[in-house]
């Protein structure tokens, strides 16, 4: 048997190319190229951040504008008018209140259902678990228009008047997926031995859930609830298709933009933005404190 010469040749190839790389590494690129690279990286990074933040900055800045005419599109002069009188336009205020009501109800329902689903998906083995897992992420990937329109078709065909209830149903449908996916990550890290320990000590299942399981997965549930609240406030397409005569804040902005775009819209948007950042920071603070306490 004659040994094929290929391996030796290959090995030699590898060795020579490796040494070639080493030479390159030792010398490195010339200094001008390195500096150019650093500058290029800075430009790209800064540009990306600018791209992300300019729209937000514009929203905030224009909340202090006193527009000429009905459209807050062109900078005129600084003013606190919109901030001192945010509820000047009743329909805008009503829409905002309505949006918050919807968001509150959707958040509670989705948080409860989604958490229970997440626990079921992690803790138990059952038939069609994989199929359910796939269906669960479908609303996250399906075009909103499809989801919204199929729901509308359903409501129309059973002759169900569109309004608060149908909006809630529609939003819960996709929110549950977000909650279940977010909470599932937390539940995966849960030590089920703790539940056994609680049962062993005489704690019935429901008490075990309230005293042991829930407190330990709560950070995941709260994160999911905040996400749901934000998504609910923000959602347009699905909500619009299933809202009937009721108007949420995004719908109101959309419908009035033909006749008027007052700076109050920017005021509400800025307020929501500040509140979101505050909640996020509080969340980070609490998570860190808790992690220290649990030694995790």
């Amino acid at each position: 048997m004659s040994a094929p010469p290929a391996p030796t040749a290959l090995a030699q190839d590898a060795r020579s190319s490796a040494s070639g790389l080493a030479v390159l590494g030792r010398g490195g690129p010339p200094p001008w190229l390195r500096r150019a690279g650093r500058i290029g990286l800075a430009v790209v990074a800064f540009g990306t951040l600018l791209y992300l933040f300019i729209p937000i900055v514009v929203v905030v800045v224009f909340s202090f504008n006193e527009p000429q005419g009905k459209y807050n599109y062109v900078w005129n002069q600084f003013s606190l008018d919109a901030w001192t009188d945010p509820f000047r336009y009743e329909e805008l205020r009503d829409a905002l209140v309505f949006s918050f009501q919807v968001a509150a109800v959707v958040t509670v329902i989705s948080a409860v259902l989604g958490t229970l689903m997440a626990i079921a998906m992690v803790k138990y083995r059952f038939r069609a678990k994989g199929v359910i897992g796939t269906i669960l992420i479908l609303p996250l990937t399906m075009p909103e228009v499809v989801l919204g329109f199929s729901l509308l078709t359903l409501f129309v065909s059973v002759n169900w008047a569109r309004g608060f209830v149908t909006i809630v149903i529609a939003q819960v449908m996709f929110s549950v997926s977000y909650v279940a996916t977010t909470v599932r990550a937390r539940v995966r890290g849960f030590d089920w031995g703790l539940e056994e320990a609680a049962l062993d000590l005489g704690s019935p299942p429901w008490r075990t859930f309230l005293r042991v399981t829930l407190p330990l997965i709560l950070p995941g549930v709260i994160a999911a609830a905040l996400l749901t609240f934000a998504l609910s406030l923000d959602d347009f397409i699905i909500t619009y298709l299933n809202s009937g005569k009721d108007t949420t804040f995004p719908i109101q902005v959309w419908t009035t933009k033909k006749s008027r775009v007052p700076p109050q819209i920017n005021v509400f948007s800025t307020a929501i933005l500040v509140a979101s950042i505050a909640i996020a920071l509080l969340g980070v603070y609490l998570t860190n404190r808790r992690a220290k306490k649990l030694g995790a």
Binding site: G193, E196, L201, K293, L294, A296
Partner: protein, 373 residues
Amino acid sequence: MRAVIEIDHVTKRFGDFVAVNDATFEIGEGEFFSMLGPSGCGKTTTLRMIAGFEQPTQGAIRLEGVDVSRVPPYKRNVNTVFQQYALFPHMSVWDNVAFGPRSRKVPKVETARRVDELLEVVRLTEFAKRRPAQLSGGQQQRVALARALVNFPKALLLDEPLGALDLKLRQVMQFELKRIQREVGITFIYVTHDQEEALTMSDRIAVMNAGDVEQIGTPTSIYDAPETVFVAGFIGQANLWPGRVVNRDGAHAVVVAAGAELLAECRTFDARPSADVTLMVRPERVMVSLDEPAAELSRMRATVRDLTFQGPLVRLTMATPAEEPVVANVGHDADLPLLRPGDPVWVSWSRDAACVLPPADVPLTAAELIEEG
């Protein structure tokens, strides 16, 4: 002794796998009872059935005479110390211990009294406000113990509780466990794969293998009079040779094994003449000498193969002319010159050192014979 727990013909199957096969035994009040065996032998499954986390496929488990086989864990008056402790990370040590009484709606004053008392028993009073993560492994272990004892269970179940500790701490905790058991007087059911731990701590031991309870008895009886080859090999070390009975006279037998006629006692196995048996001799009973031993001893010629220094004793591995391995643990006071591999010696032992056991299910291999128990 009154039985606290009765395991009555209990079988547990998971699909086709038989985890526990028709186990029957009783555990008495105040007893320190160990279930010992290699992993997968069914000891933890048995413990989980007593705790209520698993239900027997067949048979009954009785707690103080009452069948609890279908009673959920939170309605049984037994408590468990888990292998990984399973302390509640979001609660203080005090709240961890108070979890049991609070679950059972014990009045506040009584709960506080019990928790303080138990924290004193495990000597953790000054750590009451700490979180479990701020404690050492040994301290966490003691919290788990206090938490499980605070309900005054009929029996305390311990699932390899010292498995996560290092050797020094294990020995301290073995002592602690015995002290606490004496102090509270509660039945302890202890699951371990560590035969030394079981021998040191237990009043009685159940040795389990592949779902079967092989033998139940005191540490001494199990060590001196094993009923099966498995028990002999698992508890301590043993020379085990396949052999054949040539003569039987009451408790005494003559067995041909390892190429020689050897004297032995029948303690647990009733071996008829010409029956296939296994002969067991503990290594510490094997005497090694250069001169021919006295004629009333069982004796064989052997060749030294290997010597291992083990601190208080030297382990000698030898081979008979028939190439059967012989292991002897020899103390430093044994009058022996410096032996080297290849040296010829005599091995001998008195009649009461050799025990006749049933034949092994599978042929014994040299590796198994000298394996650490």
